[in-house]
């Protein structure tokens, strides 16, 4: 009984997520002290969960700071790379067409 009580008390923080099972559950169901402890953990869980509605106000200069620090050439470089790749692909397709025509002529 005492061992079970000790085990239940030690495992209590996890019982917020996972229901106790087997002998531990039987013990908790019959132990006023463990029930009180489980209730404290549930209260704690509720309080911690309630922090999700709290919002901290960021510094007023966060947005201007971000916008001033943006790496502008990055997107431009990306676009250049994309344009270059598209041009390269067009040249490759044209080349393939020319080679195919030449091959056909030779075959004829």
């Amino acid at each position: 009984m005492r061992v079970l009580h000790h085990m239940a008390q030690r495992a209590m923080p996890s019982f917020v997520d996972v229901e106790a099972r087997g002998k531990l559950k039987d013990h908790i169901d019959s132990c006023i002290s463990c029930q009180a402890e489980a209730s404290r953990y549930r209260s704690l869980s509720r309080i911690i969960g309630s922090f999700s509605s709290e919002v901290y106000e960021p510094p007023f200069d966060l947005v201007p700071g971000v916008m001033a620090s943006l790496d502008r050439p990055y997107h431009e470089a990306k676009r250049r790379v994309k344009a270059g790749a598209a041009a390269g692909a067009a040249v490759a397709v044209a080349g393939a067409v020319v080679i195919a025509r030449l091959a056909r002529r030779r075959a004829a």
Binding site: M12, P13, S14, V16, A36, S39, R40, Y41, S43, L44, S45, I47, I48, G49, S50, F51, S52, E54, V55, Y56, E57, P58, P59, L62, V63, G65, V66, M67, S69, L70, D71, R72, Y74, H75, E76, K78, R79
Partner: protein
């Protein structure tokens, strides 16, 4: 992730359009996204780091990282979820950087010392139980605080917490257990 951050004052379809334009390098669209998500990003960083100044730096860097990564953002996840991940990642980078400097020490020893200063008697005189727990949560070692913040405040799964913090699921569960046990002490015998 069950916790949902949405762009305040902008319809989801409006946000999609902003994301689409931002991916093409539209700074105005990105600026609107930053304005819409700055509170959430800053709040998450502040909760993870427990330091307002660091949180401001982390929020700024998170948005800059997001801008650089915008062309690769496929929209599989919501923009808010994506920003969450970038913020957690950036917070972790800054935490390691700060730990190497003498000016900020976000290591466990510092945090534990800080936590001990917040005795229930002292804090209880000026705050309700909720703010007392909030204060103790902020004073937890960063490794414990990050897990309890992501799991119990933001509703992430153990797996998501483990993936994002680069730890095993077992380690995430152990840390959560320890964090809850520490905060439980704040309650004393109250229920």
């Amino acid at each position: 992730m069950s916790n949902d951050m949405t762009l305040r004052g902008v319809e989801p379809s409006g946000e999609e359009e902003l994301v689409r334009r931002a991916r093409l390098g539209d700074e105005q669209a990105f600026s609107a996204l930053v304005r819409g998500h700055q509170n959430d990003v800053f709040t998450l960083a502040n909760r993870l780091l427990g330091n307002r100044d660091l949180a401001a730096d982390v929020a700024q860097e998170s948005f800059i990282r997001a801008w650089k990564a915008m062309p690769n953002f496929r929209g599989d996840a919501k923009f808010s979820t994506w920003m969450h991940r970038i913020t957690v990642n950036t917070s972790w980078t800054w935490r390691e950087r700060a730990n190497r400097k003498a000016t900020y020490t976000l290591d466990d020893e510092f945090d534990i010392a800080d936590e001990h200063q917040l005795t229930p008697e002292l804090a209880g005189e000026r705050a309700e139980l909720r703010s007392l727990i909030g204060a103790h949560m902020a004073a937890l070692p960063t490794s414990l605080r990050a897990v309890i913040v992501l799991k119990d405040v933001y509703g992430w799964s153990h797996q998501e917490v483990a993936d994002e913090l680069g730890i095993t699921v077992s380690a995430a569960k152990v840390r959560l257990h320890r964090a809850r046990a520490r905060l439980r002490r704040v309650l004393g015998e109250k229920s």
